[in-house]
Amino acid sequence: MPPNTLPTSIDPREETPLSYEVPLAPGEKLPDLPDRTIAAAGWPLWEVFVRQRRGLSHIHAGSLHAPDAETALQNARDVYTRRVEGVSLWVVRSDDITASDPDDAAELFEPFGEQPYRHATFYEIPDEVGHM
């Protein structure tokens, strides 16, 4: 898979070739284990958002695999809030997120950098006027 595509869920029950060579130490022998197909679950990826406390928005914390939304929420609680990092959780299927194209970043965001007049500091107000 090229590095500029986000991984999508595949069916791991189908044996896929390894994506890269695994180097061995000089003189190393592989352990005497069969190279069996692991019966994996192939669960989809979910993105986890945590609201740290009331008054703040949910912020992306990370991701995890789960078979459904309910299990994703339970797992998100164990993986991302073991130290009361949140009071509320969102989980969203990663596949359902539409992201901006990184190649468009310059076109999308840079024009705003040329518009300083959108900022309060662009305007000079005499000190006598006081705080504004």
């Binding site: 991984p7 130490a25 991701s63 299990t71």
Partner: protein, 311 residues
Amino acid sequence: MEQAERFQAIVDAEDKIEPTDWMPEEYRKTLIRQIAQHAHSEIIGMQPEGNWITRAPTLKRKAILMAKVQDEAGHGLYLYSAAETLGITRDEMMRLLHTGRHKYSSIFNYPTLTWADMGAIGWLVDGAAITNQVMLTRSSYGPYARAMVRICKEESFHQRQGYEIMLTLCRGTDEQKAMAQDALDRWWWPSLMMFGPHDAESTHTEQSMAWKIKRISNDELRRQFVDMTVPQADYLGLTVPDPELRRDDATGHYAYGEIDWDEFWTVVKGDGPMNRERLEAKNRAWDQGAWVREAASAHAAKHPAHQHRSA
């Protein structure tokens, strides 16, 4: 600007590389290998400590140990997620671990023989891990660096609880103190080996440093660890098992003896005391969990449209 130049410019500017950015294929492969093996280490690292959960001396120690082992699972999950952003699947990483084609830290191929080993692991092994991981919070790959920030916050608890176990033993009976010394004797050298071969023999270091995957060399990290840890051993009243260890007053650093590199390579190549058992236990756990995964998948298939209220 050419892709490769733009990539290196981002790295040189101390900015982060993110999953959708162009990156050299070697950078991607190096990171997959490093992050996946880091994740495997967290997961296999649950075994030596899990070994003592049922035999913890008090309910408090048992609760702490369970929380710590659960943290290790969590750390493994953060790291697997980070590796997946590079285009490898979770299941492929599992397969690489289960078939022995991916390594994990050799430190977990040593046995945990006494309760004091829970102290020594927290203090020394997690201490060595923190030294390495603090550096990795500044790694050039965004998802890896972010996972490290999270992990470092939690590792601090691990190291402190380990040191507190050692402190309690050292303030206890002669027998308890002897147990603490024995644990230090067995874990000291393997902990120093965690930093890897000498810089001169480390093949990947130079490129990893240029890409800012790695920021500090193996020998420099090892020196930081020794300088930090020896005074802590002194406070416990324990003796570091190295007759050549001495403080150099001119530099303020400790000089220490040579690591047994034959032992290091023996364990790396799979012939350490516990290599076989760790891998078998991991495979067994995976196989025995198959029915849980199947049941969860079946449940999800039967209830395709679970709706949840937003918070």
